[in-house]
Symmetry: C2
Subunit: 349 residues, 2 copies
Amino acid sequence: MLYSTRSRASSAPKSSRVVSGKPASGEDSLIARYFRPLATDPGAFRLDDDAAALKPDGSDIVVTTDAIVEGVHFLSDDPPDTVARKALRVNLSDLAAKGATPAGFVLTLALRSADDETWLKPFAAALGEDAVQFACPLLGGDTVSTPGPLMVSVTAFGRVPPGKMIHRSGAKPGERVMVTGTIGDAALGLAILRGGKVHAAASDKAAREALIGRYRVPQPRVAMAEIVRDYASAAMDVSDGLAGDLTKLCGVSGVSAVIDLVSIPLSGAAQDLVSRGVVGLETLIAGGDDYEILCTLSEDCVEAFAQAAQHAGVAVSSIGTMVAGSAVPKFIDGQGREIALEYRSYSHF
Amino acid sequence: MLYSTRSRASSAPKSSRVVSGKPASGEDSLIARYFRPLATDPGAFRLDDDAAALKPDGSDIVVTTDAIVEGVHFLSDDPPDTVARKALRVNLSDLAAKGATPAGFVLTLALRSADDETWLKPFAAALGEDAVQFACPLLGGDTVSTPGPLMVSVTAFGRVPPGKMIHRSGAKPGERVMVTGTIGDAALGLAILRGGKVHAAASDKAAREALIGRYRVPQPRVAMAEIVRDYASAAMDVSDGLAGDLTKLCGVSGVSAVIDLVSIPLSGAAQDLVSRGVVGLETLIAGGDDYEILCTLSEDCVEAFAQAAQHAGVAVSSIGTMVAGSAVPKFIDGQGREIALEYRSYSHF
């Protein structure tokens, strides 16, 4: 535990801390060295206890949990600092989409036996930097050993005024569909890391690095939390691909949507690959790991929302309209034709 | 996610939910079938959202997180229902020791590819039973796939009046050391499952099953939460062995302790194995997985504490005294001799 050590009763003898006569086992000293400096919140009790405490301030506490697994959500050779940032940021992205201000997080770290201090030191340093940057301190956690892949599970807490969490439900016909940032970059970054045609085509080094960076280190839209809370009728973060995630939001809201494909915001690098025919736009909207915010707004809020976002330094784009019905959202191309997404997917890379 | 699905960008194509035109992927439908019935708290939003919400009621929210890993914290052939119960209960044990009343939990489940519904169904059913029994509803979570061992990580929430969480620190010289239940049973249960001399010696089937049950399914002392809060100066749960955990409590409190070995509460089955010389008492106090509460009380609280515990149906034992100093706690046998714990440990099984 980051709070403390805990039983590994099925594994090796663990009497070393009794033998040594010191409360600090190897795990305890690693925690003290690398994680205690991150536990700056008084409610973390310096990681000296079995639990943390979140003080009441009248807010609802928003709770989200996301785990990332080596070989599934990140690559085995991704650097430890980017693994740390991704683990925390995918959770910060959820909080922001719910309109919640970060309050802290707990960490479960399943370490491989090979994960020594060479790995742990940059991991903890990057985690600490992000905790400061996003004002989301480490409150506690658990470290366990695993013979399997490395896994990092984060449970993050945010605060919203009572009842003000923004849900996936709540979107209404006639509302505008908005999205932050750009879509598809992370999917392209992953494709580059995997090699293949995108790798071959993305010859510009800076563009290549930017796309890989978007895959490895999401940019959670924490600055948008309050703005989402103020204006959105429904919101979620885009993590499974815009098309799939919008479908979910529509499903829970009991509405449908019509999306204008040419309005979907692309980075210069992505636009270049699309215009050269390396990937289709429909591939990008089925790709994952964007960690942008998808939300719906009534028409009369759009201008104020866009201005507030601009003030927060976050680009937002209007990409379509919510419509009545329970149909799967439609994606319309520049010629007004509906794109048949069912035959275009991530697997085309 | 139990809240929703989320990207597995490094793995297989995941466009099936776009293909099918349904918001429910395979994971979503598993969640709906097995986990949604557990999400009875309104703050879980039927697992239809990206996050849960804990309502403010003026309490501090106590947060604890513990993960259990196949082959490390439980055995590969442990039944799914006991894995579920253990995963939740080790966290409930922490909450109880901190004086906190359960409020809910989130779950991260790293499933092996072989973990199909045959595994998931009894897992979820048992988790649901425990959630009801301990009034600790599922609020959300994340499911991920892993090529490695099964892992279950729980983050549990409890409530205490502001500032009333009981810490490991706070024990003072002269105070009584108390422990709930009996010590060493789980370590014996694990030894039986592993075979060897304890397995051979524990010939009574009922006793054997009872000890194995203590290993597989801890009995968190949730009924003691309020009593600990009312009377204890310091507390923690015993999960790494009584000797090691007391050493930690002493370290954080800046005191030492003298423990009377013959006062340490043993079950009939454990007493039998000790009296027959199969295991030494010192082995039991270095064994893990007890999930009892260790706490310290001022002398004048002992009677009221014991009465309240009796009323709650939990046996408590006075096992020693806190003393000034920073020495490792001493364990004294019936002849007044200090036991050299450094040469006796769990590995002796």
